[in-house]
Symmetry: C2
Subunit: 243 residues, 2 copies
DNA sequence: ATAAGTATACTTGTATACAAGTATTATAAA
DNA sequence: TTTATAATACTTGTATACAAGTATACTTAT
C-alpha cells in the first residue's frame, strides 16, 4: 500500500501498524470528517483498488468500522452511516456514563500516582500547543481520559472505551485541527479544564468532576458541519502541509 | 466445515450463519464454559485443522473474540483469557449501567407497545419452560433485555449491548442448561422477575426496576465453576442429546 | 414498444499461496 | 558441559484464486 499524500490520519501513528489497521484508521477518519458522505456504498473491490491493497485488509477494516457503527454491512456493499449530530451527542452520553462510573471507583482509591501521570500529560499538551501540533495535542487529550479509565482496572468498562475510542479520537483530531487554524485562543481554556479534572480527582469532588467533564465535551463538541469544513480546508492545503 | 456432534452452541441458531460466525459462536462458548481453559494458546492453523476450515473464518473469529476480551492476540498465537468471577461481576456492572440508563429514558416515553412486546416474550419463556427447552428459554431471556434496550433508540448504548451480548448470551445459555438439569424449580421465580420488570416499566418505578434487575443477575450469576460443571455434564451426555 | 429470459459483470465468503519474521531445536565449537 | 550458530518448523499478515449468488443490462420474441 502506497502512503498516499492525502491521508487524513497521522502517518506517524501508523508506523508499526499493519495494512489493515492503516486502512481502518484512514477510512474511519474520512467517514467521520464527511469526506466519504453518508449513504455512499463501499465495495471491497473498489476500496482495494483505491488503496492498492488486496481485499484481506479491506475486509478487516470494514468489519471494524461496522462494529463502530460507522458503516452497515449488507448483502452487496457496505453503506456508510457516518455521524449525525444526534450520534455525537450519544457518544458523549456514553462517555459521561463510563467516566462517572470510573470516578465513583476513584473515590475509593489512592490517586496520587494517577494524578502525577495526568499532570505529566497536561504538560505534554502545553508543549503541543506551543508548537501548534494539533495531532500531538489530540493524542495527549485521548491519552488523558484513557489513563483515568485504565486506572480503575475494570476490564469491561475498558472494553467499552476501546470500542468508543477510535471514533472519539477522530472527532477530537478533527476538532483540534480546526481550532489550531481558527480558534487558537481556545487552548488555554482546554488545558485549564483538564487541570480542573485533576483537581476534582485529588479533592474527590463529584460535582467538580462532572462540571469539568461537561466543559470538556463542549470543547470537542464541534458540530459535524464544522468538522466537514475543517476537513475541506485540510484536503485543499494538503500538498503543502504533508511532507 | 462439518457440523460436529459435540458442538456446545445451538446448531439451529447458526443455520443462516457463515462459517466464520459459526466458528466464532462455538469457540466463544467453549471458552466461556471452560472447555478451552484460560492460558491455552490458540493457533490459527491448528484451529483451522480442528474445524476443517480455512484460516479466513478462523481469523475472523479470533478478531471478534479479542474484541470481547475472551482472548488476547499476540505475536505468536492467541492466548485464552476466559472469564474469572471478577469479570462476570464486571459484566453485570455494565448491564446495570446501561439498563439503568435505558430505564431513565423509558420514564419519558410511551411504553405500552414495549410492555406488550415484553409480555409476549414472557409467554414464550413459559412455553420454553414447559417443554424444557433451555436454549429457547435463553434466547427469549436475552431477547427480553435486548428489546428493552432497543426501544429507546440510542445507537451507542446499543453498540455497548452488541459488544456485551455474545458473552451474556453464553453465560445465560450455560446457566439455564444447568438449571434445567439441576434446579428446575428456579424457573417460576425467574419468570416472575421478568414480570416484575415489566410492571416496573409500566409503573415507571425506578426502585422496582433496579430490584428486579438485581434479582435477574442473581439468577444468572452462577459461579464459573458451576458453568464448568454444567459444560462437563453436557459434553459427557452429548452423544445421546444431540441428534 | 414492451415483456420475458438470458448473459454478463458485479458482489461477498472461503480456500489457498506466498512472504516475512520468530521461536525452537539441533549441531558444532570451545 | 556449555555456548554460539545455523537450520528448521512454526507463526501471522497479505495477496490471489475460486465458488456461489445477485443485480444489471442486453437480446429476443411477441
Amino acid at each position: 500500500m502506497t502512503e498516499f499524500k492525502d491521508f487524513l490520519y497521522p502517518q506517524k501513528w501508523l508506523i508499526k501498524a499493519s495494512t489493515g489497521e492503516k486502512v481502518t484508521s484512514e477510512l474511519r477518519l474520512r467517514i467521520i470528517s464527511g469526506l466519504i458522505e453518508s449513504g455512499t456504498i463501499l465495495s471491497e473491490n473498489k476500496l482495494a483498488a483505491e488503496f492498492s491493497v488486496s481485499r484481506s485488509p479491506i475486509r478487516e477494516a470494514l468489519k471494524t468500522l461496522a462494529s463502530e457503527n460507522l458503516i452497515r454491512l449488507e448483502r452487496m456493499g457496505a453503506v456508510v452511516l457516518g455521524l449525525t449530530d444526534k450520534e455525537i451527542e450519544e457518544i458523549y452520553d456514553v462517555r459521561l456514563l463510563i467516566e462517572t462510573f470510573v470516578f465513583e471507583r476513584l473515590l475509593k482509591m489512592e490517586t496520587t500516582e494517577l494524578t502525577m501521570e495526568l499532570s505529566k500529560i497536561v504538560e505534554m499538551m502545553k508543549i503541543a500547543i506551543k508548537y501548534q501540533d494539533a495531532d500531538e495535542f489530540s493524542y495527549q487529550d485521548v491519552l488523558f481520559h484513557e489513563t483515568i479509565i485504565r486506572s480503575v482496572g475494570h476490564s469491561y468498562i475498558l472494553m467499552i472505551w476501546n470500542n468508543l475510542k477510535p471514533v472519539m479520537e477522530g472527532l477530537i483530531l478533527l476538532s483540534m485541527r480546526m481550532r489550531f487554524q481558527e480558534k487558537y485562543e481556545d487552548f488555554p481554556r482546554i488545558v485549564k479544564n483538564h487541570e480542573l479534572y485533576i483537581a476534582a480527582i485529588q479533592a474527590k469532588d463529584r460535582k467538580l468532576m462532572v462540571q469539568s467533564l461537561h466543559d470538556n465535551f463542549d470543547d470537542v463538541q464541534g458540530k459535524v458541519e464544522d468538522l466537514w469544513r475543517s476537513q475541506q480546508m485540510l484536503v485543499k492545503g494538503v500538498e503543502q502541509q504533508n511532507d
